[in-house]
């Protein structure tokens, strides 16, 4: 087992801490770059929509945020599962670092969805399948965060969180399906978020750029948070003490 573990040398918290520190500034740069480009294309270059006017432009934030929220949940569940299966502390710490960012993207998707809803059909909130699923995803995130925060023993917290994240990941398709079913039965809100405006190529470009910006942002924030988690959890080790001394000296 030790030979195999050597492959994952970055799995050592100290090495991850150093590596992440080196890459994070580049991610921030990428975030800024992509965001500026994406917002420029989305708000200046892309044409005004025939039916929805300028209000539709919020999708350049809403759609990437929604994608990220779903993707990050799966990534979080993946790393948590790795941490559980291989008893790899670093993987579990990474999962914990991802959760708040994932939750944030969910909130962003919901909020931007509301901003789109108001001018489009007059209500701040509509119980359509997508938004409702997004809301339930937020609850899944909050449940995970609450559980790992409530458990004092870090090992138990890692493992319990991994189990919950996996159960949640398995349930996401079930929940999505059942919400779609529920929505089609109760034909209250016939307007659907999925009826996005016909995609001009500039709109697609803008979405892509914004997605990349969200990706880079996620990396930057998750790495920063992960480094903080590592330092807190490994505070009894020698390398962290050295780090603290060096920081104090600087």
């Amino acid at each position: 087992m030790t030979a195999g573990m050597r492959l994952f040398t970055f799995a050592a918290p100290s090495r991850f801490h150093a590596l992440a520190g080196r890459f994070t500034p580049w991610f921030w740069l990428a975030t800024f770059g992509f965001a500026v480009a994406g917002l420029y294309v989305g708000f200046i270059v892309a044409p005004v929509d025939a039916t929805q006017g300028n209000a539709y432009r919020i999708i350049f934030l809403h759609v990437p945020a929604a994608w990220m929220s779903m993707l990050l949940y799966m990534v979080m569940a993946f790393w948590a599962a790795i941490g559980w299966a291989f008893r790899a502390k670093m993987a579990s710490m990474l999962a914990r670092a991802i959760a708040p960012t994932g939750a944030m993207f969910t909130v962003l998707a919901l909020w931007s969805g509301a901003l789109w809803g108001k001018p489009s059909w007059g209500a701040w909130w509509v119980w359509d399948a997508r938004l409702t699923s997004e809301l339930i995803l937020l609850f899944l995130y909050l449940g995970y965060i609450a559980l790992v925060e409530a458990i004092d023993d870090p090992r138990r917290a890692d493992q319990a969180g991994a189990l919950l994240a996996l159960v949640g990941a398995i349930n996401v398709p079930v929940i999505y399906f059942s919400v779609r079913w529920w929505n089609t039965l109760h034909q209250g809100a016939t307007i659907s978020m999925t009826a996005a405006p016909k995609m001009a190529s500039t709109m697609l470009t803008a979405m892509l750029l914004m997605t990349l910006a969200c990706w880079a942002y996620a990396f930057a924030v998750v790495f920063t948070r992960a480094r903080a988690i590592i330092v807190e959890r490994e505070q009894h080790t020698a390398w962290v003490s050295e780090l603290a001394l060096a920081a104090k000296g600087a």
């Binding site: 609850f139 449940g143 609450a146 138990r156 319990a160 079930v174 059942s178 079913w181």
Partner: protein, 222 residues
């Protein structure tokens, strides 16, 4: 394996029989909570008939969450849980037995009380039948999911609320299909699709939840 399953099941039933008031409290909560809705929404029969399926299901869900909190807490406190996990048979047997016991003690009163409550909301005969069938299929799912939540949050201070937060999203499909079945029957359609979905959900949960609960019990007692 059957000997252990039966032993744990009978023990839990016996314990519940000796604390009958405690066993019936969730049922009382169920009825009281349901009664709040007419007070909040108004007594108009049309409205009440419309919201009845959802109200009954939501209150059944909450009542189950409240009663499932104590599923493992007592055993952990007096050291029985460790001994249960040390039995030669796999922990899945214990998890399954406890969920069945919970359903028999806490689920059945809800199933029996639901039609009575449904009458308060002026539901028709077929709708009442649909409610009972749905709860028959759905309450085991709730007990199974609740058992998983109880095992995960075992011994934590914030236990109760945390359990509810964790389990409610997972229980939403059951809620949707169960309440949807009654609404379908009320509007004259067939609820067969809903029942099949509930049945599929039940089978999937039966296969997955005890395994996950056994893993959670090991994690929580490490």
């Amino acid at each position: 394996m059957r000997a252990l399953f039966l032993a744990v099941l009978l023990r839990d039933l016996r314990l519940a029989a000796r604390r009958r008031i405690d066993a019936l409290l969730p049922l009382v909560f169920f009825v009281v909570a349901i009664s709040l809705f007419p007070l909040g929404v108004g007594p108009e029969p049309q409205t009440l008939r419309h919201i009845a399926p959802g109200v009954v299901w939501v209150c059944a869900l909450l009542a189950t969450m409240l009663s499932v909190q104590h599923l493992y807490a007592g055993d952990q406190a007096d050291g029985s849980l460790e001994q249960l996990l040390l039995a030669p048979q796999p922990a899945v047997t214990v998890a399954a037995a406890k969920c069945v016991a919970h359903w028999l003690v806490n689920g059945w009163p809800l199933i029996v009380a639901a039609p009575l409550v449904g009458v308060l909301f002026d539901l028709s005969g077929p709708a009442l039948r649909s409610l009972v069938i749905g709860l028959l299929l759905g309450t085991p799912v709730l007990s199974l999911l609740g058992g998983l939540g109880a095992a995960l949050t075992l011994g934590l201070r914030s236990g109760g609320m945390l359990l509810i937060l964790i389990v409610l999203p997972l229980a939403m499909p059951a809620l949707i299909f169960g309440a949807g079945a009654v609404s379908a029957v009320e509007s004259g359609e067939s609820a067969a699709g809903h029942y099949s979905l509930l049945g599929a959900l039940l089978i999937a949960t039966l296969l997955g939840a005890p395994l996950a609960t056994a893993a959670a019990l090991r994690i929580s007692t490490e």
